[in-house]
Structures are given as C-alpha cells and as structure tokens.
Symmetry: none
Subunit: 423 residues, 2 copies
Amino acid sequence: MAEALKPGDARKILLMVLDGMGDRPVKELGSKTPLQYAAKRAMDKFASEGTCGIMDTIGRGIRPGSDTAHLALLGYNPYEVYTGRGPFEALGIGMDVRAGDVAFRCNFATVDTRMVVTDRRAGRIREGTDELGRSLDGMEIDGVKILFKPAVEHRAVLILRGKGLCAKVTDADPHSEGQKVHESNPSVNNNATDFKDAEFTAKVLNKFVLESYKALNAHLVNKERTKNGELPANIILPRGAGMAPHIPKISDRYGMKSSCVAGISLVKGICRYVGMEIPDVKGATGGTDTDLGAKMKAVLRELDKNDFVLLNIKALDIFGHDGDAKGKAAYIGKIDRQLKFLFSNIGENVVVALTADHSTPVSVRDHSGDPVPLAICGPHVRKDVIIKYDEVSCASGALGRIRGMDLLPVMLDLANRSEKYGA
Amino acid sequence: MAEALKPGDARKILLMVLDGMGDRPVKELGSKTPLQYAAKRAMDKFASEGTCGIMDTIGRGIRPGSDTAHLALLGYNPYEVYTGRGPFEALGIGMDVRAGDVAFRCNFATVDTRMVVTDRRAGRIREGTDELGRSLDGMEIDGVKILFKPAVEHRAVLILRGKGLCAKVTDADPHSEGQKVHESNPSVNNNATDFKDAEFTAKVLNKFVLESYKALNAHLVNKERTKNGELPANIILPRGAGMAPHIPKISDRYGMKSSCVAGISLVKGICRYVGMEIPDVKGATGGTDTDLGAKMKAVLRELDKNDFVLLNIKALDIFGHDGDAKGKAAYIGKIDRQLKFLFSNIGENVVVALTADHSTPVSVRDHSGDPVPLAICGPHVRKDVIIKYDEVSCASGALGRIRGMDLLPVMLDLANRSEKYGA
C-alpha cells in the first residue's frame, strides 16, 4: 500500500497510550492478565501486521508516575527534566505553568493562634476551597506574582512567578502536627551561586504563608466552618518546591506540528508545556465514561492537521487502581472495537504505536514497574512473527525491550524524520 | 572441532561488516527485506551455529553515518570521539590525519575582485581541481603546515597541522552567494582557556584563504576556464572546523595486532587512524564491481598475521542508496557464496561476527536507524535456536538487542581477551 509513497518521504506519527494497561496475571481471569483475557481482535491484528516489543517507560523495575512516563514517551529524559511534583501537579490541575516558575504542593491546614499546626488537612476539607483560594490567587509579594489554585480536597498548588527565584528552599509545612509552621530557608550553602535567589524565594514564601493566615483566618468560609464545628482551613502549608523546567518544544526539537487528544489534565498539561496543541474534544472526560468514539474521530482530524498526535485513554488505569480485573478486561474490549474503526480509517502514511505509559496491575491497585507491551505498524515497518498483543507475547517481538525515551526516536526514524549522525 | 584448543586460550577475532545490509520490507520482494528474500545458505548456517541478536550501531532510532558507525563497531563511543565531519572527510579521501590536526571541509568557489562570493561551487567544477589543489598543498603559514586535498567535484579538505591550534573558529565560508568571504574568528569567549589557540588558528585560516585566492586566481587552469566561459575556481572556502581526536590505538587498548580489509577510503582511513594495518587488496574497489574472492582470501591471509581483522564490503549500501531491492538481494547471494568459501577455510580459533554498520533501506535510499542483524560464531560460543540470518529472525536470538559499541567488548570476551573487572 505504501509503495505509492516516495522513498524517504516523511510519515506522520500516532502514539496511542492506553494509560495503565499493563498488568500481572489475575487468578480470577484464569491467571491471565486483563489484556490476555480480553477480546481484542483489532489489537492482535495490529500486532500481527507490525513489529512488537516491551518497554520500560522509565527504566527496568522503575515504577513510573503518569507525569514522568509521558515525559519519557515524548522523548525527554525524565531524570533531566522532571524537577519534582510541584510543577507537574500544577500542570495536572490546569494551571498555566511557565519555564522558571517555582511551584509548591500545598495543604489547606489548621493552625492555632501560636501558629502551631493542629490539623495538616484542615479536617479533610472538601468544600469551600475554591472561595478560599480566590482570596490568595493573584497577589503580588516583593514583585513576585502569586498563582494559587486548589486541587482535590485539602490539596492545592502555589506558583511563584518572577525574577530571581530558585527552588532550593525548605518546606514551610512541618510535616507533622503539634509543631509550629516552619520558616522556609535556603537549602543551599551561602556560598552557592544561587544562594541569593534561594534566600529571596524563601522570604517571599514566608510572607505568602503569613498572608495566607491573615486572609483565610478571617474568611467567611472559615467562620461558617467554625460555626458548624469544623476545623478552619486557616493557613496554606507549601512543600516540595520545584522549578518548572526549560524543555525544548517538540516543534523546535523535531520540526513537527503536534497535538494531544486526552481527557486528563495532567497529560494535557504536559503536552501543552512541550508546545503541543490541545484540541477540545467534547465528551473526553479522562474517566470510564469518556466518549471513545469522539476521541477516535478527534485523532483522525488531528492527524490531518499535524505531523505527530498523542492519544491518551485513561480508563484502564482507573480499573487498575480500583482492582477491577473484569472491568479492565471488558474496557479493553471496548477500546478494541474503537481501534478497529480507527485503523480502518487512518491514512496509509502514518507510523502508529500502541502502548501504555505504565502497568497498573489490579493486584497492586497502583502503578508498577512491569514493562508494557508495544506494537508499531506503518509503511515499510518490519513485520515480526508476533500475532497476539499482550505483555508476554510482545516480549518475543523484533523490537526487543526498549526504554520509554527511545520510543519517539525509533518512531521518528521509521517515519523518516531523523537526522543522520555522521556521514 | 575447537576442543583441541586449550581452555581460556585467546582466540582471533573477525568482524564482518556488510555495509548498509539492514533493510525494511519491500513490496516488490513479497514484503520481505532483501536479506529475507535472498538465497543465503551460508549465512543461515552461520546463524544456526552461533548466537544471534540485533544491534543499534549508535543508539535506538539513531541514523548512523558510516564514520560514526565504524567508530562504534571498533569499540569507541562516537559521542566522545566523533569531532565533526572535517577530520573524517579527510580520512575518507585518504589523507594522513593525525591527532590534534584541525580539519575543514572546503569548497572551491568563485569570488569577484571585491572578494564577494559569486558561486559557492565554482560552476560545479569537475576537472582541474587536482592541479589547483597542488598549488596549495604543502604551504606553511606562521609555522603551521597546510595539507590540502580535493575531493569529488567542488569539494576539498584542508588540514592545519602544528602547535597551538584549536577547532573553535567560525567559518570563512559565508554559506550563501552575494556575500563577502567571512573573516574567521574564535567561537569562544576571550576568557576561555583555548581562546589564544582559537585566535591563532583563525588568523592562520584567514591567511590561507587569502593565499588560496592569490594562487588560484592566477592559475593556468582558471585562465583556461575563463577562456571557455566557465567560472574560475579562484578561492577556497573552509567550514566546519574539527580537531582530529586523540583516540587510543586498538593495540594499546586491547593488546591486539589488527588489520582492515576494505575498499572504501573512509573505512580504511578510520581503521588506519586507530592503528590498524591496511593491506593493499588488488581488485577491492569499494563498489559493486569489487573482487569479493580477493577480499575473502585477503581476510584469511590477514587472520594468519593478526589478532583482529575487520572486513567491510560496501556494495549492499550502494544498492540501498540506489533503491534497487532485487540488486541488493542478488548481491547478498553473491556475498553468501563467498562466505561459504571463507567459512570452510577459516581456522578453528576465530570468533567471527557477521553484521552491518547500519540499515540502508531501498525504500528510504539512505541510512536508517533500524537495527541490524548480528550473528556470532566461534569456539564455545553459545548456540541459540535461530536458524535464519535476517533482521527479524535474529531479533529473537540469545544476544538480544545490543549497542554497536558493545560488540567488540562482547567479542573480546568470547575470544578470552577481556580484563576481569574486580577479583
């Protein structure tokens, strides 16, 4: 089919990430993995037409987060660009993170008048954090802009944006109750080149914590909580400073126009951060109720307009976290029927990979370091003897066992988009 | 057969590089690769008697040049020793390159009297460059020796040899027409430790460019060209300075006497550079007309005299660049018949690898990053279940997927020539 293409022509690239798909054998499924158990004719056909392998998204035996895994799948070395959870949590809740921002994970907490922490989670507050957060977001302290956004329950993210900032500061969060709120300090020696920046950042952070007490302690939401016998969420405790990394954009690095079809904010956030377009897909929720058909149609539309498209489907990870083996297997079947539609409508000029960002075994109910299956199809892609798409069958494929950060280079090469190294 | 050898005795090593052999499926060949399609009983027998794998010469998805690939196959990390194209182009045209030389790729070009470049390729000059080059080669400028050699068409290589040189200088080549010849300058800050060397090198380079104009503008060849209405090749425009790397010799590194049987200058040049002998093999052209029989006999002779022999056969790469699938498959058959001769005449004390430096798929007409097949045979080498020598079959072999720079260490170990790491 691809013979009509001219030799060496650049192909398009589609990277399909079935979040948390990899698994371990489950007794309930006859000691098969959900993937081995599932009805998945389109996936098996895909594997049989291309080249297969297994992949350690980060490294052998390393349990990936969704953030580090997606960085690797986009060709970045997570050990170089992953600067802690702060900036990535911020991306995960849809904040506009910029290179150089210093971001902190935060808790809404309760302190008494001596600034001793009496509850690190403010009675696991669930409601009212949006209003509380609005009273902090947008402040300016010593020329530094404060961006603050609540996340789930008592959690929130703080971003400091401005000149002369540095993430090498200690936590204000004392990490245990009965202690006073800590004063943040530089975590580097005073002869380090970034000591002055760290000192300034700590000063701004300490002022912010104090301001948060002033603003929140007097807040109507907290007066209401106290009246109802609930603990007031009267302070913000930041921890885990991380500076948003300077990452080259996909377009600058590979000369590709790219977009991402995903429901969950973290993946959308990371993709936006590396310069990918994020089309709005109606019905793409990032949950088990997502509109798979709408996402497949979006992928076809995006492939028309871009050189590189990443698709993330989140649901299997959720079944993994829930420990629901049958639900996971059934959902694989549901995805498979949509893939049949996708594969029969995709152009001939696309190199396609089907894989996962990590395993989320139902027997673990969390991410694991088990390698994930991988299959690649496309014009002139080598065809091996593998005819089943699962964690074990793919391991005997012609790709062998690769790392996550090698996948995009391999696909770029198969898409005739690589630079030659040497002559 | 090898049982007569004493345990732990050092073996000899033969590394056979079938240049550009790896490929992708080709419709014309029933969706097989040329290697899968070819009649190659000797290769299959070789694979069935040894251990197989696939190899990324540089790295996964990385498209190798012939220069970087051969450095890796000789056990060097190309990312450490590959210092740009200049020194390797010089090696490729048979110049005597020495560690510390600064080499430039050059064009014969045309300038007007104001030194404005009117044609960067001197009307794509094809003849007379040898005579023109001779008027520049061997000069001395400020104690620096000038070595200059024309290559194909308007191309040439300049080497500066002497003390106090540095490759961190900008190009004299303005890279576009209508501009004046650039003055070369240091490309490092004036507080860098090598600034003085860079300044000196730039000064020598600028003087050379001026001298080239004086010598060439008045040259008889150019007078003749002007008379015939052709553009004079009246200046040399150097670019892409690179310092020839300090590489430990094979003999110093591994204590092996070594030689290389090859037709093409680049491979011969690199092998000479790392201290290998380069025997003159009559009929070894580096083309599709090479005398394969003569090369096989040379390999047998060289194995008698050396510990390590590298054989390069170039032809398959040429068929790949030409997009000639059937020609490539037929030539694999031709090599196979010669390998049958070689294998039946080789001593029992040799560890032999059969592989390629990179893939040159006929559907790409250039090098690609697809891994290459690899098989290793020899006394006491593990035997796996693989019975076919091709890109897909070898991938299931016991060697797995290795890197090019790991091949020589693996062979040294199989040849009982490695140092123990630890006690």
